[in-house]
Symmetry: C2
Subunit: 223 residues, 2 copies
């Protein structure tokens, strides 16, 4: 149980809840969270059913409790080490952005074929030559890898990652990776995302998923 879509939404909820809490919010209603996440209140309540959290009809949910329960459901208590392969523009962008990540994910090593990119520390992350992959991944017990290499080397690098014991790959290349059944691949293809959005630019049929506040300017919902 817990579908792929549900997992994505729970991750979004948790992020929003943390930001809500940070702004001083203590309690939150399903319709408020729904508004922030861009889904329906019923969807939020349905998703919350899957984490073991009780709300109060008069006061809504205790934000911190809800965030914790979601974390438990997602298995987010233990820190997971992540390896980045490919320290090009894309890889460096990721490194820069994931320093600020919620804390349970840590990019502990980065790899590249280019000797000019290795042997230094970037955003707190050690950069190694790619031939150290097997050694470092085994030593640091890294289960997750981000694949941000060129399309042409994607397949062979993925094979090495699998051999080294990686069980999940965030694949940022446009290649379709073939991996053993126990390895999970998550594809993020920016080219496809761009083509998709360009398609919608032509066909005005709006999905009406956007906030109903048409014409309104962007403004953060404060608690």
């Amino acid at each position: 149980m817990l579908s792929e879509r549900a997992i994505e939404r729970l991750i979004v909820y948790r992020r929003l809840l943390n930001s809500w809490i940070q702004r001083g919010g203590e309690r939150i209603y399903s319709h408020e969270l729904a508004n922030l996440a861009g889904v329906t209140p019923a969807q939020v309540r349905r998703d919350i059913m899957a984490v073991n959290c009780a709300g109060n009809p008069a006061r809504g949910y205790l934000a911190s409790d809800l965030a914790d329960r979601i974390g438990e459901r997602l298995g987010t208590r233990s820190v997971r080490n992540v390896a980045l392969v490919g320290i090009g523009n894309l890889g460096q962008a990721l490194l820069a952005h994931f320093v600020r990540d919620s804390g349970h994910l840590a990019v502990v090593a980065a790899f590249d074929v280019d000797p000019a990119k290795t042997g230094r520390v970037l955003h707190g992350c050690h950069c190694y030559p790619i031939d150290d992959i097997e050694r470092i991944i085994a030593r640091e017990h890294v289960p997750v890898a981000i694949l941000a290499v060129s399309a042409s080397s994607a397949a062979s690098v993925a094979d090495r990652l699998v051999q080294a014991g990686i069980t999940a790959i965030l694949n940022l290349t446009p290649e379709h990776l073939r991996v053993p059944a126990h390895v999970r691949v998550e594809n993020v293809d920016l080219g496809i995302a761009l083509e998709k959005v360009a398609f919608y630019a032509g066909h005005r049929q709006n999905a009406a998923v956007q906030q109903p506040t048409a014409g309104e300017l962007n403004r953060v919902n404060n608690p």
Copy 2:
């Protein structure tokens, strides 16, 4: 009609077909295309129903014809201009990768607040200061924008894009954009993608979506 998922798959099919053709493939069966795309043959045939293309039970589909029909269905004949906002690592990575794009999408302008990044040509794309956004977008008739700026400026830049007449935004920031109903936003949140894949690294429950060739090395399927 034509669901969001179906659109994504059609885009993938077309890309695979083009590569198939480039390798000398002329005809293709639904199960071959399904294999390459990582979906079921029935799904492929169902999707093909939506693009007006007739296959032949003995010889499968004519790859070039199928690619063309998909292109027609996706409205891919006319070239669409794209603007990139934010020439950081992420923006530059996109620029570098979209030079090789199929041809109907062209990044014609890039913008940044940093004067050191503007006034030059990067990967064939002119870089302008961000205050030229309205002028250039109007002049070049750009309907699509890629938002690759910092999270803190995402909302205000999105507002400017909408004001300038953009109708579709590929949002690479983790911010939820509020836009008028006629503007389509496509969110690609790498942080969520990473959290998602990390979740699956823990819970071994494999989605079995991967190729059934477990343990096999990556190898390109040649026609």
